[in-house]
């Protein structure tokens, strides 16, 4: 009995001591927590960006922190999880103060109340490329500060094809000739894949007369006017089908995101439809190349690529919104940061001044911007999320030889069904 009591007492005492240790840990945490308002006399800004941009941002955020006596923490979140993670933590009332991401997230971020508008002065807006500001404007409000824009263009191997094709027909003729001479095995590297790729086929779709959404009076995309399934879209897909596997064999499902650039750099095709992100690989492969606009069908509309914009957002649930607004609205709008971000990831800066600074050393940039001149802003409305998958699959089916009319009509129905 004696052993038992002492045992219990010992256990209790030690457990309490241990829990006391736990308490100590906590209380050593707690001053940190209660000190954070005081150290936040230093103030803290948390930024979420993807891995590449995190490295480029660090020197600037450190400078911003030192100049203003605040701490800035940049956290790397993989790009494919960023939006989802941000929306999730935001709905729990936490998360970062500033987020960096593509402008077509805006619709979803706004409907989840995850970001706040950014109030830019008119002269600040004027410093940006007009398309970039249009891209981050949603329901008449500016929701982000753009820093880079990107669009598709036609990259061609100038050893094989010295002249930029004016039309798709030109391109096909050149490609076929090269194929007959056994210089290449594919006419065109435009990624399709088994599921299709709405983003990459869109220039041809637009050139053939198709559209995704109509526009309202004030220029916003209108989810109620869906272009997929309309006669124009069927006509457009007929033209695409003519280039497909049962037609010219220019568009193929076997060319996908995984092998499109590699096939071009392996000199198996003379033309690649891709964006600024592909140039690094092309340069590495030592290929002589030039960049021009994606050609459209002869007599058709211009082959308008989608213009996407990378931008900074202010989180609605951030702890430090005033500082976040200051950083995004008044600091990011300066060209130095845009230039640094360009050096981390070579996409054309959205600030006109920054573009002017870097385009001298990188002629590709101006060519990409030129190729995107006819471009259309990638719709940021939430309804766009309903387009990607069905549209891509319809594209893959049509390229594989399915009947365009019934395929596109079915895709239109599916899309309309999932738009609220």
């Amino acid at each position: 009995m004696r052993i038992r009591t002492t045992g219990v007492v010992a256990v209790l005492g030690l457990a309490l001591a241990a829990s006391g240790c736990g308490g100590d840990n906590k209380s050593s945490d707690e001053p940190a927590a209660s000190a954070s308002p005081k150290a936040a006399a230093g103030g803290k800004l948390v930024i979420w960006a993807d891995d590449k941009r995190t490295a480029a941002l660090k020197p600037f955020t450190e400078k911003f922190g030192q100049e203003n006596g605040v701490t800035v923490e940049v956290q790397a979140v993989p790009n494919e999880d960023l939006q989802n993670n941000f929306v999730t933590v935001s709905s729990q009332g936490g998360g970062p103060d500033v987020v960096i991401g593509a402008h077509d997230w805006i619709g979803n971020l706004v409907q989840n109340g995850a970001i706040d508008p950014v109030q830019l002065a008119d002269e600040q807006k004027a410093a940006f490329n007009e398309t970039a500001i249009k891209a981050v404007t949603f329901n008449g409000q500016v929701y982000g500060v753009p820093y880079a824009q990107e669009n598709l263009a036609l990259i061609r191997n100038t050893d094989l094809a010295p002249e930029a094709p004016k039309t798709i027909e030109d391109l096909v003729a050149t490609g076929k000739q090269l194929k007959a001479q056994k210089k290449v095995t594919e006419t065109l590297c435009l990624q399709v894949g088994q599921k299709g790729d709405a983003y990459h086929i869109y220039p041809l779709y637009a050139s053939a007369g198709g559209y995704l959404f109509g526009t309202t009076a004030n220029g916003d995309y209108d989810p109620k006017d869906l272009g997929v399934g309309k006669p124009e879209s069927i006509a457009a897909f007929k033209k695409i089908a003519a280039l497909g596997e049962k037609g010219e064999g220019v568009l193929k499902r076997s060319i996908a995101d995984t092998n499109s650039t590699a096939t071009f750099t392996g000199k198996k095709c003379a033309f690649l439809v891709s964006g600024p992100w592909a140039t690094a690989d092309v340069k590495k492969a030592g290929i002589k190349y030039d960049i021009s606009a994606v050609p459209g069908f002869a007599g058709g509309k211009p082959a308008a690529p989608f213009v996407g914009v990378q931008s900074f957002y202010v989180a609605a649930k951030g702890k430090n919104k005033a500082l976040a607004q200051e950083f995004v609205a008044n600091y990011v709008t300066k060209p130095e940061l845009a230039v640094a971000l360009y050096q981390a990831d070579p996409r054309p800066p959205a600030l006109t001044a920054a573009l002017d600074q870097v385009k001298g050393s990188d002629p590709d940039l101006a060519k990409f911007v030129e190729a995107g001149k006819n471009g259309q802003v990638l719709p940021a409305i939430p309804a766009m999320a309903a387009i990607w998958d069905p549209f891509g699959k319809a594209e893959a089916a049509v390229i594989g030889g399915a009947d365009p009319a019934s395929t596109v009509t079915a895709a239109g129905k599916t899309i309309a069904g999932s738009i609220k």
Binding site: V8, G22, V110, G113, Q119, L323, V328, P382, T407, K420
Partner: protein, 546 residues
């Protein structure tokens, strides 16, 4: 029948002691009570209980901060119960059962209950938070700059202590260079001599006010964003810490009519608690909604939506075929190899075994992607090596064959390993006895080896079946469900229920967690029924052969 015999009765008696001593079962218990307390045992107890206490205290702070009193009560009760249980010397069976039960509750029951409760809501993009959150989001998203209004350089200042004093905005009119001070009551001009203005218009000091630096100001972020200085045209608000603009909230929530009014267009959106959104008379909805209970709507949607119920049966059949094909194929292949290597006449078995389990050692995630590329029509290894032009993922049957082939390659080493283990546990005397009785090797395999193998491996086969039934990666990283019929982009030939529903719930407009939860409950029911039936059959089998 043998189970009851070796049941609880014999376990309670300490082996060897019970029959010798004639004492009552109590004797063994008192013996335990007098068992000496070892230092190691005591230390383990103290460390583990200390850990429990530490974790409990660590978890308590956030709960207190979030004012989650129910959660805190559960935490306190659980911790107290754990201490009561392990500090005392009684309740020995409970001491063994409680840890497992706690983990069962935390990792099985709670998630299932949470999923089930989510299935009755519209939780998803646009409906994540509460109604209050939605109202705040709508109002703050509607603040617009007054057209033609001025942008003012701003300094944030206070009359009192930088951390607590009431805040004011010190702004400079860029046209007249006059400095004004603004608070919730409005804007008043400041004496021209009272303020020091830096080039660019920012006030750096003002008599009677402490100008906050960025660090001090950012600590009061919420006060600053909340401070609205009324003006004639709207109100002055901060845009960051160095600029103020004149803005106006166009939309405002009116609790009286439970609606949102737009002062520019005069349009009204009334709250609809059924769908969790503000809806206008013409059916127009505001994007920012909130989470509401939708009853059985998600379940009825699964059953009535033609896009879901139409291809459901076909998908279900293929899903079974895939799970059975993957499990059965890998089992047969793995077992055959195990049998071959089990033969005493094979030399170098260790080398073979090492080579055979290689696919198992490679990350399946990467291997699935590699296989996907090998099946490419024009550039894939398979077509190039055999000189074929098969559009593997373009036709239903070839795509199905391809994914099962990949599963076979990925899965057989596992079956080979477990079958090898089980084979070694079967006494060779049994097979030797059959051959003495004149049975052919096939007969001996059929009548002795296979049944004994199955007894050992059935639970593994069932769990492998359940895993493959929901093997999302196997499809999503290879065909992604392709090929899709031209007229239905939402259901492909190789889609499993899980990939199909993933596309329905997350591939369309946005994430619909409520709907996804409802579907996963359906899948859960299917897998549970299949597993329950197979386990029952296995038990019967065990009774036959045990």
């Amino acid at each position: 029948m043998s189970t009851p015999l070796s049941g609880p009765g014999s376990v309670q008696q300490t082996p060897g002691r019970g029959p010798v001593r004639t004492g009552s079962p109590r004797s063994s218990r008192t013996a335990r009570n007098h068992a000496p307390i070892t230092a190691a045992g005591l230390a383990a107890k103290v460390i583990l209980l200390g850990l429990v206490a530490g974790i409990a205290i660590w978890a308590a702070f956030p709960l207190v901060q979030a004012e989650q009193w129910i959660g805190l009560a559960v935490l306190v009760l659980t911790t107290a119960a754990l201490f009561y249980l392990y500090v005392g010397r009684r309740h020995v069976p409970a001491k063994y059962l409680v840890p497992g039960t706690l983990f069962l509750i935390a990792f099985q029951i709670v998630p299932v209950l949470y999923t089930a409760s989510t299935a009755f809501t519209n939780f998803g993009d646009g409906h994540r938070g509460s109604k209050d959150d939605a109202v705040v989001a709508i109002q703050s998203a509607s603040v617009k700059q007054v057209p033609g209004s001025t942008q003012y350089p701003l300094s944030v200042a206070t009359k009192g202590d930088p951390t607590t004093g009431p805040l004011v905005f010190l702004i400079t009119d860029p046209k007249t260079d006059t400095v004004s001070v603004g608070d919730a009551d409005g804007l008043r001009p400041l004496d021209p001599g009272a303020a020091t203005v830096a080039p660019g218009g920012k006030v750096t000091a003002a008599d009677g006010y402490t100008v906050l630096n960025f660090g001090q100001a950012s600590a009061r972020s919420k006060d600053i964003t909340d401070l609205v200085v009324p003006t004639a045209g709207g109100a002055l608000r901060s845009s960051g810490l160095s600029r103020a603009y004149e803005g106006k909230a166009v939309r405002a929530y009116d609790a009286g009519c439970d609606c949102v009014k737009d002062s520019e267009s005069g349009k009204t959106w009334t709250a609809d608690e059924e769908v969790g959104a503000f809806v206008a008379a013409d059916g127009d909805r505001l994007a920012q909604g909130w989470q509401v209970n939708v009853g059985l709507a998600n379940f009825t949607r699964v059953l009535t939506d033609e896009r879901i119920s139409g291809p459901f049966l076909g998908t279900l059949i293929w899903n079974f075929a895939f799970a059975i094909g993957s499990t059965g194929g890998t089992f047969i292949l793995g077992m055959l190899i195990a049998l071959a290597l089990h033969s005493p006449r094979v030399r170098g078995t260790n080398l073979y075994r090492m080579l055979l389990i290689l696919p198992y050692a490679m990350p399946s995630f990467a291997m699935l992607l590699v296989w996907r590329d090998m099946f490419n029509t024009d550039f894939g290894l398979i077509n190039n090596m055999f000189g074929l032009g098969v559009d593997w993922f373009g036709q239903g049957w070839s795509a199905r064959a391809a994914v099962i082939l990949v599963q076979l390659w990925l899965g057989y080493p596992y079956m080979f390993l477990v079958a090898t283990g089980a084979l070694q546990a079967i006494p060779r005397e049994l097979t030797e006895a059959t051959s003495v009785d004149g049975a052919s090797p096939w007969q001996s395999f059929r009548a002795v080896t296979l049944p004994l193998l199955l007894v050992a491996l059935s639970p593994l086969l069932i769990s492998s079946f359940a895993f493959n039934f929901n093997n999302f990666n196997a499809i999503y990283l290879t065909t992604e469900g392709a090929p899709f019929p031209a007229d239905n982009p939402s259901n492909g030939a190789t889609d499993l229920l899980i990939t199909y529903t993933y596309r329905l719930a997350f591939g369309g407009q946005a994430a619909q967690f409520g709907f996804a939860a409802a579907i996963s409950l359906f899948i859960f029911a299917i897998v549970a029924v299949v597993s329950a039936v197979s386990f029952r059959r296995t038990r019967q089998q065990e009774e036959v052969y045990a």
